[in-house]
Structure formats: structure tokens, C-alpha cells
């Protein structure tokens, strides 16, 4: 975790977004549940809840708009943390091919870069629909406005969780010493070290398949012949040298 002023600001905004996203989610759900009752007390509570819901949603939209540039300022502030990194794109590549927890960083950044514009768009769409609904006498679009707020709060919560995860994960890359294939074919104790690389590249794959099947079929035929002479079934893995009559 790299702690600087932007990381602290971004973390604070993320926590606020998470809290207000969950609050908006709860308020929408509570309003939807209370809309079935026609009791006077419950109607008053619903009205008050509606005001709180509107204020929470406005705050959520404001936080979402602010968090977008702050996120890129945070990435810009991370640039001097690594030697080979020169711009924000370099920061987005940190963690690629890593085996530690840092391997999740590029994916988290990709998700955040999609969620942030979606969040701002959903916030604006909710605001426009709310204004349209308040311009009418009976508020016929209340259900759709509530659905849009539900979508907005879900997106805000997801974005906040992703951003907090990105901030918390250590930005330390860990790589394996060598690839597993390199280890398997280049080991000094293996016979495959004598095999020239030019013979086993992708272009020679059909020839290698043919060679594989010819060698295996000839080996199994030899097994069968050997075992038919001594009347031993071929289902077992006995070799001709182990066969008593070979």
C-alpha cells in the first residue's frame, strides 16, 4: 500500500461512497416496502424518507463526479514509485504476470475505469428522471426513478469496494524465477536437453504427432508379439526383458 495525500483522499472518498451507497440502497428498499401501506403515519415517514433519499442520492452523485478525476490524480501520483514507469499507463500495468496479490491490480483498474463513467452516467440519468418526475402533479415515474437510484447505489457500492481493494492491496510484484515449461525441458538431468529446439517448434507439430503414433504403435505391437509367445495377456505392463520366455 502506497500512502500519499491522494491515496488518503481517495480512500476517504471511497469510504464515503460505500457508506452512502449502502444507505441509498437501504432507503430505496425501505421506501419500496413502505409504499404498499396507506397508513397516515407510514405515509409521513415515507415522505421524510423520500427527502433523505433525494439528499443521499445528490451526495452520491457529487461524490461519484469528484472521485473520477481524483482516481486519475492518484494514479499520476503513483508514477514516481517505480523506476521504469513514466505515465499512468505504466501504473496500470503494475502487477501483470505477478504471482502475489498484486496480480489483481490490473483487473481492478480495468473494472474501475469502466465503473466510473457508468456511475456518473447513472447519476446524471437519475437526476434528469427525478427532475422530470417532480415536474408532474402525481409523480408517475416514481418507480422508475427509484429503480435508477437502486442502480446508482449498486454501482457506487461496487466501485467503492473495488477502489478500496485497489488501495489496500500491496503494490509489490512477485515473479516466478523461471517458467514451468523452461524448467521441464531445460533441466540438465533430463534427456530432452539433447533435443534440438529447431525440431520441436510449432511448425513441426504434425510430423511430431506422426512420429509419436508410429513409435507407440510399434512398441505396443512388440509387446503383443512377445506376450503371445509366452501366453501372457497384453493388458499388463510387463516389458519383454521381464518376460520369462523372451
Amino acid at each position: 500500500m502506497i500512502v500519499n495525500a491522494y491515496a488518503v483522499l481517495d480512500g476517504f472518498l471511497s469510504v464515503l461512497r460505500l457508506a452512502f451507497g449502502l444507505l441509498a440502497f437501504y432507503l430505496v428498499f425501505a421506501t419500496w416496502r413502505g409504499s404498499r401501506h396507506v397508513d397516515e403515519t407510514r405515509m409521513r415517514t415515507r415522505e421524510e424518507r423520500g427527502t433523505l433519499q433525494f439528499l443521499t442520492a445528490c451526495l452520491l452523485v457529487g461524490l461519484s463526479i469528484i472521485s473520477w478525476p481524483v482516481f486519475y490524480l492518484l494514479l499520476q501520483s503513483y508514477v514516481p514509485a517505480w523506476d521504469g514507469v513514466m505515465c499512468i499507463y505504466g501504473v496500470t500495468q503494475i502487477g501483470t504476470d505477478s504471482v502475489g496479490p498484486a496480480r489483481f491490480l490490473p483487473e481492478l483498474l480495468r473494472v474501475m475505469q469502466l465503473l466510473k463513467p457508468a456511475l456518473v452516467f447513472a447519476g446524471g440519468a437519475w437526476l434528469v428522471m427525478h427532475l422530470l418526475n417532480t415536474g408532474t402533479a402525481s409523480g408517475p415515474l416514481a418507480g422508475r426513478v427509484r429503480f435508477m437510484l437502486l442502480l446508482l447505489s449498486a454501482l457506487a457500492t461496487a466501485d467503492a469496494i473495488t477502489e478500496i481493494s485497489y488501495l489496500v492491496i500491496p503494490k509489490k510484484e512477485e515473479f516466478v524465477a523461471s517458467g514451468c515449461c523452461t524448467q521441464a525441458f531445460d533441466g540438465s538431468a533430463r534427456l530432452s536437453r539433447f533435443l534440438p529446439r529447431e525440431w520441436v517448434d510449432d511448425a513441426h507439430r504434425p510430423a511430431l504427432y506422426v512420429l509419436y503414433f508410429i513409435m507407440n504403435s510399434s512398441w505396443s505391437r512388440r509387446q503383443r508379439r512377445c506376450c503371445s509367445s509366452c501366453h501372457i495377456t497384453t493388458a499388463h505392463t510387463i516389458s519383454c526383458r521381464a518376460c520369462p520366455r523372451a
Binding site: 446524471g124 415536474g135 408532474t136
Partner: protein
């Protein structure tokens, strides 16, 4: 930064106009929808043209200042 913000505003305003015209349909809102869509499309035009103008100006200034 302002040019990018205006571009985003312009692009999103067109999308919001689409959302209003699709999801805001109701007999009670028929009068309002046209007004809202028109205003949002005006905002979209302002944002796109504003960002285009600002970026063109910045590019022209960069061209003039190059050694």
C-alpha cells in the same frame, strides 16, 4: 481537464436525452419530455463544440510555440 470534462458532459447529455425519451414516457410527462430532450441536446451540443474549440485552440497554441 476542462475540455475533457466538457466532452464527457456533451457525450453524456446525449445519452441522458435518450434515457429521458425512453424511460420518461407517460401521458402526464408528454409535454415535458420534448422540453427536457431539447435542453439536454443543447447541453450536448455545447459540450461537444466547447471541447472541440478548446482542444483546437490548445493544439494551435502548441503548434505556434514549438521550436
Amino acid at each position: 481537464m476542462i475540455a475533457v470534462g466538457m466532452f464527457v458532459l456533451g457525450a453524456f447529455a446525449v445519452g441522458w436525452a435518450g434515457v429521458v425519451s425512453l424511460l420518461g414516457r407517460h401521458p402526464e410527462t408528454d409535454v415535458l419530455i420534448g422540453l427536457y430532450v431539447r435542453k439536454l441536446l443543447q447541453v450536448g451540443l455545447f459540450g461537444c463544440l466547447g471541447s472541440l474549440l478548446m482542444l483546437s485552440l490548445e493544439l494551435a497554441l502548441a503548434w505556434v510555440q514549438q521550436p
